[in-house]
Subunit: 254 residues, 2 copies
Amino acid sequence: MSHTPQGSLYLVPTPLDFGCEPQGAICDVLPQETLRIAAATTHWITENAKSTRAFLKRVDGVLPLAQPLQQQTITELPREVHKKGDHDGQFDAKPLLVAALRGQHIGLVSEAGMPAVADPGSSVVRAAHDLGLQVVPLVGPVSLLLALAASGLNGQNFAFVGYLPQDAAARSKRLRELEALALKTGQTQLFIETPYRNAALWEALLHSLQGATRVARASGLTLPSMSVQCRSVQAWKQTAGVVSGEPTVFAIGK
Amino acid sequence: MSHTPQGSLYLVPTPLDFGCEPQGAICDVLPQETLRIAAATTHWITENAKSTRAFLKRVDGVLPLAQPLQQQTITELPREVHKKGDHDGQFDAKPLLVAALRGQHIGLVSEAGMPAVADPGSSVVRAAHDLGLQVVPLVGPVSLLLALAASGLNGQNFAFVGYLPQDAAARSKRLRELEALALKTGQTQLFIETPYRNAALWEALLHSLQGATRVARASGLTLPSMSVQCRSVQAWKQTAGVVSGEPTVFAIGK
C-alpha cells in the first residue's frame, strides 16, 4: 500500500518593518533556513494576502521563489478571525489545510513577526494538530520577546496579556491589577496598544502606578528607530519623554 | 568639549543545539545582522565562558571575528547569579559594564537561545539601563516562543512560569493551579523542567489534569529531532507516547 506523505505546516515569521519606509535587508532578520522554506513554499494562509505578496517579493530578492507569485495559492483567514482573535476555539480551520493532506507544505504568516503569537493563526495550528500534521515553527523576529529581553525585567516569569481596556477608568483599574500581580509574584506583565492610543496609555501608566514600579517601553525593534528603555515610574516622571507613535511593547515589573 | 560615545549592550542569541552532535549550520538559525554583530564584538558577559568560545568559533566559521578568540574579554556571571537567577535585584552588574562607559560594545550571551529570557542576564540589562547605555536585542531562536506558536494554544494571552516544584505533591498542586488559571482566564501557561525530570512531570500532568485540558510539549526546536504536539489530556492518555529526555517546553491551555 502506498501512502502520500502529508505536508507540514510551517510557521513563517516576517520582518517587523511592515509599512515602514525604507525597509531593511530581509537577511538581517530572517536566517537562511527561514528564507529557504519561505522561497520553497507555494501555499499560504495569512491575515492579509497583499502583505504576504509583498513579503514574498522581498524573499524573491534574495532567494528565487519556487513558483511565480501569481501562481501561488494565498488564502486569507476570515476577517472575524483576524480581527477578534482565534483562540476561543470557535473557528474550524481544518478546511484550509486540505492541501497538506495531499502532501502540500503550507506556510502560515502574519503581517509582521511570528504568526499565532500576539497575532492570529492559532486556530490554524490547532487544526493542524487535530489533523496530525507536522507543525514546524521557524526562527525570526518576535517583538514581545525582543522587548522582554531588552527590558531587564524578570524573564524567568512573565506574561503577555494583549490589549488593555479602552475606557479610561477600566484601563487604570487593569493597570493597577497588573502592577499588583507583578509586585506580588515577580511576574513581568507585558501588553500592547494600538499605536494611536500609546500616548493615552502612557499617561495612564504614569498616573496609576506606584513610584517604585519599573516600566519598560520598546518600539522600533530591529529598526534604525529602535528604542528600549526601562525606568521606575518616578524616574519616568522626571523625563520629558514622548511616547512613540510606532507599535510599542509595554512592560511592568519589580 | 569632546565626549566618548558609550558602547551598547547587545543581547546576542545563540543556537539551541548546545551540547548536540552534530550541530547544524549557524546561518540557519541566526540572521546576518546577529552574525555581523557577534563577529564584531570583542567583550562578552556570559553564563559560561567555554560555551561562549564554542559559539564564537562557529561564528568565525561564517564571518571572521574582529579579534582572535584568545584576545577577547569574556567575563562569566557569578555562579550564584546564573544558577539561582538574577531577577531579584540583589546582584549589581554595573561593574561588569565599565568598558561600555569607555565606548566598548558588549555582548550578553547565554548557553542557548536568548539571554535574559528563561535564562540569566536580566541583572546585566537592568544595570545597562541604570547606566543609560543603549540596549540592543538581536534576532535569533527563542525556544519558548517557538513552542508557544507551534502549540496552537492561545498566543494572545500567555505566561511563562519557569520551573515547577520538585516535590510530587507540590508539583501536582501547582499543575492544578496553572490549569485552573488557564481554564478561567484563557491564559496559556508555559513551563520547563530539567530534562531528567521530564518523565516524572509528564506522568504528573496526565494524572493531575482534567481530560479536556489541552497539553502541548515541544522538544528539539530548530533541530532535526524536533517534535511539537498538542492534544487533550484524554487523547494523550490514549497514545503510548514517551516524553523526550531533551530540553522540553510544556504548555497547558484551553
